[in-house]
C-alpha cells in the first residue's frame, strides 16, 4: 500500500489490477505510469497487484473489491472475471480498461476503451509518409480484437496518407513480450519490402528495434513516448493508459462516474491518444495533422 | 613377500538387517604373490568385504592399509588409483557399447598392445568389436576380468566369478589367477566351491555371519577344515549333493535320481523324498505334460538363438539341460516363461497351446518358472518377502488374501511366515524387504512361490543354485526332487553338470541353439557323454 494517506482516512481507496508486468514497456507500464502520477499527487489510497496466473485473477479482484471503493482492472483478459466479481460488490465501482468495446456495462462496471486504433491510424499515416518506397507493415503481439483493429487502422492510416501505399499483411508474434520472435517477425516484414513498421508489442519492441537497425529500416515506437534521438524511430504513438486510471479516480471523486463505455482518444475529447513525431519534415507533420483533424472530426473511421 | 592389503577390525553395519552388522571386526591380511580365497555361506559378508576394499561401500568401523600405508577409498576410482581392481558379478559393463569401448573407459592409450600382453600373460583374449549386450555371459565375464587387469592392478578382487563359467573357462580362470599371483600381484577370490579353492588358493579366510571364523595359509588349514569352518559343524556330515555343489566331488558320486532315491531318507535334506520309486516314476512318466515343437528364437540382432527345438517333459520326471552358457538355454527358458516371443514353433501345456499366453495365463495353467536372472525377473527387491511370495496369487479373483478388495496383511504375513519356517529362510520376518535377504535365501523364496502354484504340473528352473552356498543348494535340489515326486514335470537348466547328474533322470545338452541328447543319467558313461555333447559332437 502506498500514497501519503494514512489508513482510516476517508480518502478514496483505489485498487489497480495489472494482470501483466508493470515493466512491460507497453500497455501495463503505461497504466502504471498513471498509477505513479496518482501516487505522487496524493489524496487517494492506492494499491496494486501485478503479474498473476489466470486462475488467480478472480481472487485478486475480490481482494481489491473488499478493501476499496474503486477497482480498476487492465486488459481484456480479465473481462470474464471482472464481470463475475463486480455484481458481488454492488457498492464498489469497477472500471475495466481495454475490455471489449461493445460489452454492455454492468450497474457498477464501466468500460474504458483506449483507442489504440486511432493511434495506429496516425502511426500508419506517418509511416507511409516517411517510407521511401511506400511499403509499410505492422507487427502485433497477439491476435486480440483491439490489436486486430489497430492493425486495420494502421493500414487505413497508411492509405489515408498515401493512397497507393502498399500495406503488408499484419504479423502476429503470438506473444507481446518475446523479443527474439518479434525480431523475426519484423525482419520478415522488412524482408518483404516494408521500410517502416507500426507495432503493438510490449517487450518485443527491443527485438523489432534490432531488426530495424540491422536492416537499416525504421519503425514507430510507443505506447510510451521515447527518445527522438534514436534514428530507428520515426515517432512514437502515445496511448496513455495511465490517463484512464486517473480519469476513473477523478470521475469517482467528482461524482461523475457512470457505468458506461467511455472512449479515450482523438474523437472522444477525453484525450489519451497522441503521436510524438520525430521527423522534422514539414510534409510529415502536415500529414499527421491532417489525419488527426480528420479523425477528430469523424471524417474518417480508423477501422 | 609382504602384506599387500591389511584390514584391521573392519566392520559394516546396515540399519535394517538383524543386528545390522553385515561385516564385523574383520582382521585379515593378503600377501603379495598369493591367491587369497574368501569363503562363506550366502549372506556371510563376502561381497560386502570386497565392496569395502573396492570403495563401493564405506566402512562403519575399522581401518585398511595398502602396502603399509593407510587406505580409505571413497569410490572405486580411488581404489583403482591405489592399484585395486574388482570384478563384479553384475552391472559393470555398458551393454550398449562394444567391448573395445568398454575397455577404453579404463584405458585408451596403447590399448591394443595392452590387450595383446594380457592375452599372452594370462591367456585371456577378447573380441573387441562385439557389442557387450550380444555376448554370452561367459564371454562377458572374461571381458570383465580383462577390464580389471587393464590398469595393471596390484590386487584383483573377484566376487564369485566362476558361477557363470563352464569347466574349461573355470580352468582358464584359475590359470589367470595363478598368473596374476605369479607376477607378484595378488588375487582375492570369492567362491563357494572348495574344489576351486584347493586348486588355486594360497590362503583362505572363512566368514560366517559377518565375522572371520578361521583361515590361514592352505598349507596350514587344509580344505576339509575350511569346510567345517564354513558349515559350523563337522564336514563328515556333508551329503553328496552338497559335496558336489561345493565342487569337492566332481560329477557327483551317486548318479541319477534312481540311485539317489535308493538313499532316500539317508540325509535330512532329502527326507522329503517319500513316495519315490522307479515304478511310480514310470507310470507317471508315460504322460507328456509339456511339449515344445520346432521352437525357433532369434536374438534382437537377427542371429538365431534357438533353432527348431523339440522337447517333451513328462510328469514326475526331472529333465536337465546342460551346456555352455549362451547356447540358447536362457532363451528357451524365457520362451517357456512367456517373457520372450518365439519366431516359430509351438509350446503346448497339456492340451492347451500356450505359445503366446501371458505369464499370468501360464501360471494359471500350472506352469511354474524359476527365472535365471533372479534380481531382474524373479523378485521385486523393494517389496517384502510376503508380497513377493503372494503377489501372483492376489491377481486371481477371490484370493484368500483379499477381503472386499483390501489386502489382508495379517493373513499374508502368516502364510509367508510359514514358508519362511518351512524353507528355513534367514530373514527378518515376512515384512523384510526381499533385497535385504542374501542370494540363497532369495532363491528359496522364489522356489517356494513357484512350487506353491495351484495345480502345478510343470516347473522350469533356470540355474536354480547359482551363487548359492551348499546348504542352500542341497535344500533347493531337495525341493525340486520333491516336486517331481509329487508328479510335477521338472526341467532344470544348469551349467553345473555334476548337479544335473545327481538330480535328473535324463540330460539334454544345449549346443548352438539345438538340444542334443538325451543322455540317461543311469548310464555309467553319462558324465562323459554330456561332456562330449557340450563340445558339439553330434549325438
Amino acid at each position: 500500500g502506498s500514497g501519503d494517506v494514512g489508513p482510516g482516512s476517508d480518502a478514496l481507496k483505489v485498487g489497480v489490477f495489472f494482470p501483466g508486468s508493470v515493466s512491460d514497456t507497453g500497455f501495463m507500464q503505461s497504466g502504471y505510469l498513471g498509477y505513479q502520477r496518482l501516487e505522487q499527487a496524493g489524496g487517494v489510497e492506492l494499491s496494486y497487484v501485478e503479474q498473476l496466473e489466470a486462475s488467480d485473477y478472480e481472487q485478486a479482484l475480490v481482494r481489491f473489491a473488499s478493501q476499496n471503493d474503486l477497482v480498476v482492472s487492465l486488459g481484456g483478459q480479465t473481462d470474464a472475471d471482472v464481470r463475475k466479481v463486480a455484481p458481488q460488490f454492488p457498492e464498489v465501482k469497477f472500471v475495466e480498461i481495454g475490455g471489449p468495446a461493445d460489452a454492455p456495462p454492468l450497474p457498477n462496471l464501466a468500460y474504458y476503451d483506449p483507442q489504440q486504433a486511432e493511434a495506429e491510424f496516425l502511426s500508419g499515416a506517418v509511416s507511409a509518409t516517411v517510407s521511401s518506397n511506400g511499403t509499410v507493415g505492422f507487427v502485433g503481439g497477439v491476435e486480440l480484437p483491439a490489436i486486430v483493429n489497430a492493425a486495420h487502422a494502421f493500414g487505413n492510416g497508411a492509405r489515408f496518407a498515401k493512397h497507393d501505399a502498399t500495406v503488408l499483411p499484419p504479423q502476429y508474434v503470438g506473444d507481446f513480450n518475446d523479443p527474439a520472435k518479434a525480431k523475426q517477425a519484423a525482419s520478415a516484414t522488412y524482408g518483404a519490402g516494408a521500410d517502416v513498421l507500426g507495432q503493438i508489442v510490449n517487450l518485443g519492441k527491443q527485438g523489432m528495434a534490432q531488426a530495424a537497425q540491422e536492416g537499416g529500416k525504421s519503425m514507430v515506437g510507443g505506447p510510451i513516448p521515447g527518445d527522438c534521438g534514436d534514428p530507428r524511430f520515426v515517432g512514437y504513438v502515445h496511448t496513455d493508459i495511465g490517463k484512464e486510471i486517473e480519469y476513473a479516480v477523478n470521475a469517482v471523486q467528482s461524482g461523475t462516474w457512470a457505468a458506461q463505455q467511455v472512449r479515450f482518444g482523438l474523437t472522444s475529447g477525453n484525450g489519451g491518444t497522441d503521436f510524438v513525431l520525430c521527423s522534422t519534415d514539414p510534409t510529415v507533420a502536415a500529414t499527421l495533422q491532417r489525419a488527426e483533424d480528420q479523425l477528430a472530426a469523424g471524417a474518417v473511421q480508423p477501422y | 613377500m609382504g602384506a599387500l592389503l591389511e584390514l584391521q577390525g573392519l566392520g559394516k553395519r546396515y540399519g535394517a538387517v538383524g543386528n545390522g552388522w553385515a561385516l564385523h571386526d574383520v582382521t585379515l591380511s593378503v600377501a603379495a604373490g598369493t591367491v587369497h580365497c574368501v569363503l562363506g555361506e550366502n549372506g556371510a559378508g563376502k561381497s560386502t568385504l570386497c565392496n569395502l576394499v573396492n570403495g563401493g561401500v564405506r566402512p562403519t568401523t575399522g581401518d585398511m592399509s595398502v602396502q603399509g600405508t593407510a587406505y580409505r577409498p571413497g569410490s572405486p576410482a580411488d581404489a583403482l588409483r591405489r592399484g585395486i581392481a574388482m570384478v563384479h558379478q553384475h552391472f559393470s559393463l555398458i551393454p550398449t557399447m562394444t567391448v573395445r569401448e568398454n575397455l577404453q573407459l579404463v584405458r585408451r592409450r596403447a590399448l591394443g598392445d595392452r590387450l595383446d600382453r594380457i592375452a599372452d600373460e594370462f591367456g585371456l583374449a577378447v573380441d573387441p568389436g562385439r557389442r557387450v549386450g550380444d555376448l554370452p555371459v561367459g564371454a562377458r565375464q572374461k571381458v570383465e576380468i580383462v577390464k580389471a587387469l587393464l590398469p595393471d592392478p596390484d590386487l584383483v578382487l573377484l566376487d564369485e566369478p566362476t558361477g557363470v563359467l563352464d569347466v574349461a573357462e573355470i580352468d582358464a580362470l584359475i590359470g589367470t589367477c595363478q598368473a596374476i599371483a605369479g607376477s607378484g600381484r595378488a588375487v582375492v577370490l570369492v567362491t563357494h566351491k572348495l574344489g576351486e579353492v584347493s586348486r588355486v588358493a594360497d590362503a583362505a579366510t572363512v566368514l560366517r555371519h559377518g565375522t572371520v571364523v578361521g583361515g590361514g595359509l592352505l598349507s596350514e588349514v587344509p580344505v576339509p577344515r575350511l569346510l567345517s569352518l564354513m558349515l559350523g559343524r563337522d564336514a563328515g556330515e556333508l551329503d553328496a549333493d552338497a559335496a558336489s555343489a561345493v565342487g569337492l566331488l566332481p560329477g557327483g558320486s551317486t548318479r541319477g535320481r534312481a540311485g539317489r532315491a535308493g538313499r532316500a531318507g539317508a540325509t535330512a535334506l532329502s527326507a522329503r523324498n517319500v513316495h519315490s520309486g522307479s515304478g511310480a516314476e514310470t507310470a507317471l512318466g508315460a504322460r507328456n505334460v509339456l511339449s515344445v515343437r520346432g521352437l525357433t528364437v532369434h536374438h534382437p540382432d537377427g542371429s538365431p538363438a534357438v533353432v527348431g527345438v523339440d522337447l517333451d517333459l513328462r510328469a514326475g520326471e526331472i529333465t536337465g539341460i546342460a551346456g555352455v552358457e549362451g547356447n540358447g538355454q536362457s532363451e528357451l527358458v524365457r520362451v517357456l516363461s512367456g517373457a520372450l516371443r518365439p519366431t516359430a514353433g509351438t509350446v503346448r501345456l497339456g492340451d492347451d497351446d500356450i505359445t503366446s499366453a501371458t505369464p499370468a495365463a501360464r501360471t494359471r495353467a500350472g506352469l511354474g518358472v524359476v527365472p535365471e536372472d533372479r534380481h531382474r525377473e524373479a523378485m521385486v527387491g523393494e517389496l517384502s518377502v510376503a508380497e513377493n511370495l503372494l503377489l501372483a496369487e492376489l491377481g486371481r479373483s477371490g484370493g484368500r488374501f483379499r477381503r472386499r478388495g483390501m489386502l489382508q496383511r495379517a493373513a499374508m504375513d502368516a502364510a509367508a511366515a510359514s514358508v519362511i519356517e518351512d524353507y528355513a529362510v534367514r530373514a527378518d520376518g515376512p515384512r523384510a524387504e526381499m533385497r535385504s535377504l542374501s542370494g540363497g535365501n532369495q532363491q528359496k523364496i522364489v522356489l517356494a512361490r513357484e512350487l506353491a502354484i495351484d495345480g502345478l504340473t510343470v516347473l522350469v528352473a533356470a540355474q536354480p543354485t547359482r551363487g548359492l552356498d551348499f546348504g542352500a543348494v542341497a535344500s533347493v535340489l531337495a525341493r525340486l526332487r520333491g516336486a517331481a515326486d509329487r508328479g510335477v514335470a521338472v526341467l532344470v537348466v544348469s551349467s553345473e553338470v555334476g548337479e544335473l547328474l545327481t538330480l535328473c533322470d535324463r540330460i539334454l545338452v544345449g549346443y548352438r541353439g539345438r538340444l542334443l541328447g538325451p543322455v540317461e543319467t543311469t548310464d555309467p558313461t553319462a558324465a562323459d557323454r554330456v561332456g562330449t555333447l557340450m563340445t558339439g559332437t553330434a549325438a
Binding site: Q59 | T60, L383, A392
Partner: protein, 368 residues
C-alpha cells in the same frame, strides 16, 4: 542430531522457514518491514473464508494432478505432461459444456463435462502411454513435448471461430470460449462466504481413494512391483504393457478432470493461459510428496495457499510479485534438496556413534 529432527515433515518445515526468511530479507530490500511482511502473508493465506475457499480450489486442482502423477509414478512412469493433459481436459469440457442445451440440468451436464474431460486427459496421455508401453519410448520426453502442443492447441481453439471461440459478434469479441451452460458449473461446497467448490471434495475423495488403492489393494501392489522390477512383475502375472498404459492414461485422466474443473469454475470460459501452470506445479507436488498421500496433501496446501499469501503481500506490504515467486521457487528447491539430504542423515543417525571421523554416509540406491 536426532532422528526426530530429521523426520520428513520437520525437514520440509525447516526448508519452508528458510525460504521464507530469504523472502523476508528480499521484501526488506524492497522496503517492507518483516512484521508487515509476515502478517500480510499469513493474513492473505488464512485471513478470510474467501481466501481460504479460493486457495482450496487451487489446492484441489493441484491434488488431482499430483494424485494422478503418483499413480503413474508407482508404475515407474514420470508424467511430466500434466499441463498438456489439463489443456486436453479443459478443451473437452468446454466442447461439451458449451454444446449442451442451455437448460441442461446439473445432474446431466456436470457429469458429462467431467467425464469428457477425463476421457480427453486419458486420450492425451494415451499417446505417450502407448509409445512407452509398446515401443519403450521415454514417457518423460513425450509427455513433456505434448505439453507445448496442448498449450498451443488451446490457443488455436479459442482463436478459431470454427472451433471453440465464442460467436464473433463484432471485431471486439475476445478470443475465448462462450461460457459453459449453467448446469455445468461446479456447485459451491456450501461453506458460508467461501467460493470453495465441490472440486475440493472430489479431490479429497480422489486422494483418499488413490491412497487406499496404492497401499491396500492388489492393484497398488502390482503397480509397485511394476515400478521396481518390470520383468519380475511380468513373471508375477502383471500385464506389463497394459498396466503401464492404464497407469499413465489414468494420470492423464486425473489431470484431464482437473482441467475440466478449472474450466467449469466460474467464470466458466476457456481462455489462453487457463492452466496457470497447474500441470507443472502438480508434478512438483507429486514428486515432493515422495509417495505419501499425507505429504501430497500438505505440499499442495502449502503451494496453493502461498498464492493467496503472495497476492496479499503485494497488496498490503507492497512486496513485488517477483519476490513472491522467488520465495515459492526457493521453497521447492529447499524441500527437494533437503529431503534427500535428510533421508541420508536419517540412515546415518541409526548407525553407532563410533563411526570413523570423516567417513561419509551411504544412501540406499536411489532410482527414479
Amino acid at each position: 542430531m536426532t532422528t526426530r529432527l530429521l523426520h520428513p515433515a520437520t525437514v520440509a518445515a525447516g526448508a519452508v522457514v528458510a525460504a521464507l526468511l530469504v523472502g523476508v530479507l528480499l521484501a526488506g530490500l524492497a522496503g517492507a518491514d518483516p512484521l508487515t511482511t509476515v502478517s500480510a502473508l499469513v493474513e492473505g493465506m488464512v485471513g478470510t473464508p474467501y481466501a481460504i475457499g479460493e486457495s482450496l480450489n487451487g489446492v484441489a486442482v493441484l491434488m488431482l494432478v499430483a494424485a494422478g502423477f503418483v499413480i503413474a509414478y508407482r508404475a515407474g512412469l514420470v508424467n511430466v505432461g500434466g499441463e498438456g493433459q489439463l489443456c486436453a481436459g479443459g478443451i473437452a469440457a468446454t466442447a461439451v459444456g458449451t454444446g449442451l442445451p442451455a437448460g441442461t440440468p446439473a445432474v446431466v451436464a456436470l457429469p458429462s463435462v467431467l467425464i469428457a474431460a477425463a476421457a480427453a486427459g486419458f486420450a492425451w496421455a494415451a499417446v505417450p502411454a502407448a509409445l512407452r508401453a509398446w515401443r519403450g519410448t521415454s514417457e518423460i520426453i513425450t509427455t513433456l513435448l505434448l505439453n507445448f502442443v496442448g498449450l498451443a492447441l488451446v490457443t488455436l481453439v479459442v482463436h478459431e471461430e470454427g472451433l471453440l471461440r465464442q460467436p464473433v459478434t463484432s471485431s471486439e469479441t475476445l478470443p475465448q470460449s462462450a461460457p459453459l451452460v449453467d448446469g455445468a458449473h461446479l456447485p459451491s461446497l456450501g461453506l458460508p462466504r467461501s467460493p470453495a467448490t465441490i472440486a475440493v471434495a472430489v479431490a479429497v475423495v480422489a486422494l483418499v481413494a488413490v491412497g487406499i488403492v496404492l497401499r491396500r489393494t492388489g492393484t497398488g501392489l502390482r503397480l509397485t512391483a511394476l515400478g521396481h522390477a518390470p520383468a519380475a512383475a511380468a513373471r508375477l502375472g502383471v500385464p506389463v504393457a497394459r498396466t503401464r498404459f492404464l497407469a499413465l492414461g489414468g494420470a492423464g485422466a486425473f489431470a484431464g478432470v482437473a482441467g475440466g474443473m478449472v474450466v467449469a469454475t466460474a467464470p466458466a470460459v476457456l481462455a489462453e493461459g487457463f492452466t496457470s501452470g497447474y500441470g507443472f506445479s502438480g508434478l512438483v507436488v507429486g514428486l515432493l510428496a515422495r509417495g505419501s498421500m499425507t505429504a501430497l496433501a500438505a505440499v499442495a496446501v502449502l503451494l496453493g495457499f502461498l498464492v493467496s499469501g503472495g497476492i496479499n503481500l503485494q497488496l498490503v506490504a507492497g512486496v513485488p510479485a517477483t519476490t513472491v515467486s522467488i520465495v515459492e521457487s526457493l521453497i521447492i528447491l529447499f524441500i527437494a534438496g533437503s529431503a534427500a539430504w535428510a533421508a541420508r542423515r536419517r540412515a546415518a543417525a541409526r548407525r553407532p556413534a563410533h563411526r570413523p571421523a570423516g567417513a561419509p554416509v551411504e544412501t540406499v540406491g536411489a532410482t527414479r
